[in-house]
């Protein structure tokens, strides 16, 4: 009788235990792009993005915890000026050189979380370390939008949204062109990730 009660209790608890376990989501590379904005000569705000990134996040809504890892291929930078036309070089080629992202020496930029803060069941803020040009500095990302649901077409569980933050590029040793090309980089990440 005692054994039967224990078994029943275990069977009842099993689904609860499963839902409390951290869930892993892998970023969809076709719908995950880090975008950035930077001042140009005090005249306008230039926008750019990285076309290739990868990574994953884990989420435990019951425990209100999670983690994020994002790897950005710096050579995939695109600011809309990749065609040099009559010039010797295009702006994107200049951004890939040692002056800015130095992609030959530092092909990847990474972000790794140290803490995730929740607002109810949804993550609201991620604290972590951004590693750029071999330098790691704290960077907090605010989750501006967060949605989890079944994908409307393939019905797979998907979470996505938008995150934003900012940092000073000189903190990472990217000093070329300051102040003509602004020091503050505003980061806007659009992301979608499928549950594994």
């Amino acid at each position: 009788m005692k054994k039967q009660s224990l078994l029943a209790a275990l069977l009842l608890a099993a689904p609860l235990a499963a839902s409390a376990a951290p869930e892993t989501y892998v970023f969809d590379p076709y719908h995950t792009y880090p975008n950035f904005a930077v001042d140009h000569l005090g005249i306008s705000t230039m926008w750019g993005r990285f076309d290739k990134s990868s990574g994953k996040f884990t989420l435990d809504t019951a425990a209100k915890s999670g983690s994020v890892e994002l790897v950005v291929e710096t050579a995939s930078i695109s600011t809309g000026d990749n065609d040099k036309g009559a010039r010797a070089r295009a702006r994107d080629e200049h951004l890939r050189a040692a002056d800015f992202f130095n992609v030959a020496e530092f092909p990847q930029m990474t972000y790794k979380s140290t803490a995730v803060k929740f607002n109810g069941d949804a993550p609201a803020e991620v604290e972590g370390q951004l590693t750029l040009l071999g330098v790691s500095k704290p960077l907090t990302l605010k989750i501006d939008r967060w949605v989890c649901k079944a994908h409307p077409f393939n019905k797979k569980p998907v979470c996505g949204g938008n995150a934003s933050g900012s940092f000073k590029r000189t903190d990472f040793g990217m000093k070329y062109g300051v102040p003509a090309v602004g020091d503050e980089i505003k980061l806007f990440i659009e992301f979608e990730a499928y549950k594994q």
Binding site: R96, A97, A98, D99, A104, K175, Y176, V178
Partner: protein, 272 residues
């Protein structure tokens, strides 16, 4: 003033030229005018704001080696007279330093490509140093080689998409120009020495390598710069005023430099 010092033309040309001329004049009595080139180069590095070594990137290692090369040249000038073997030996030494500088870049390449690039770095540095060091006895030719090597690597780097390496190279050329100006005014009593010949050859060769590895300067455009020290050895009008000789020597040195630019430009047109 701050705005003026932040201007790329001041950082990469005007300030190094003035500092090169001033250092060459100030150190004339102690026969260390050859330090003019590295002084102008380091001024550009400081004005651009890269005098920081907390993360030792390839360009920062390059600055360290560029600062060390003329100091080794000073030791060579005063402690011993460099012999014929000194050029290849010092070239090999600084070629090995080049591998240290660019190791973090080579490590990301497939082995065969990394070996090819490493061999190219060592070969260009070795050749340029070995060919330039004998010019140390001739201030006109050594200064002209500095102008050609610096401007060649600098403008070549700009055409290869790096304004930073470009400014470094142009600063080296401009500072060498400041030294040449003093030679034009005072003649051959302005000493060159290994401090100048070693400083400009090591720094320019490494900058050219940096423009290949960290930007998009074609390797064959960088290789053409190896002809600059040879061009600076071409015959000069012996009886002419040193000012005229300097103009002719700089013209000679600029021919291979212009060749480097032409190749870099042509490569940029064809997608290279």
């Amino acid at each position: 003033m701050q705005e003026l010092l932040a201007h790329p033309a001041v950082q990469g040309a005007v300030a190094p030229l003035v500092v090169g001329l001033a250092v060459a004049a100030l150190l004339l009595p102690v026969r260390l005018s050859g330090l003019a080139a590295v002084a102008g180069f380091l001024v550009a590095v400081a004005l651009i704001g890269n005098f920081s070594f907390s993360t030792l990137t390839a360009t920062r290692k390059l600055v360290l080696v560029a600062a060390a090369a003329p100091l080794l040249g000073v030791i060579a000038d005063f402690a011993f007279k460099p012999t014929r073997i000194a050029g290849p030996v010092l070239g090999t030494l600084f070629g090995a330093a080049g591998l240290w500088i660019f190791w973090s870049v080579l490590a990301h390449q497939p082995l065969a490509q990394a070996l090819r690039l490493a061999a190219g770095v060592v070969a260009l540095v070795l050749w340029t140093v070995a060919a330039a060091l004998p010019l140390q006895r001739d201030p006109v030719r050594a200064g002209a080689a500095g102008v050609g090597l610096g401007l060649g690597a600098g403008i070549g780097a700009v055409l290869g998409a790096s304004a930073l390496i470009g400014q470094y190279g142009m600063a080296l050329g401009a500072a060498s120009g400041g030294y040449v100006l003093l030679v034009m005014l005072l003649g051959r009593r302005v000493s060159a020495g290994a401090s100048l010949a070693l400083g400009v050859s090591v720094t320019a060769a490494l900058l050219a390598c940096a423009a290949v590895l960290l930007a998009k300067l074609p390797w064959y455009a960088a290789a053409v710069l190896g002809l600059v020290p040879l061009a600076a050895r071409l015959p000069l009008p012996d009886r002419a005023h040193p000012g005229i000789q300097a103009v002719v020597a700089v013209f000679y040195a600029m021919v291979p430099a212009a060749g480097c630019w032409a190749i870099a430009w042509a490569a940029s047109r064809t997608g290279g």
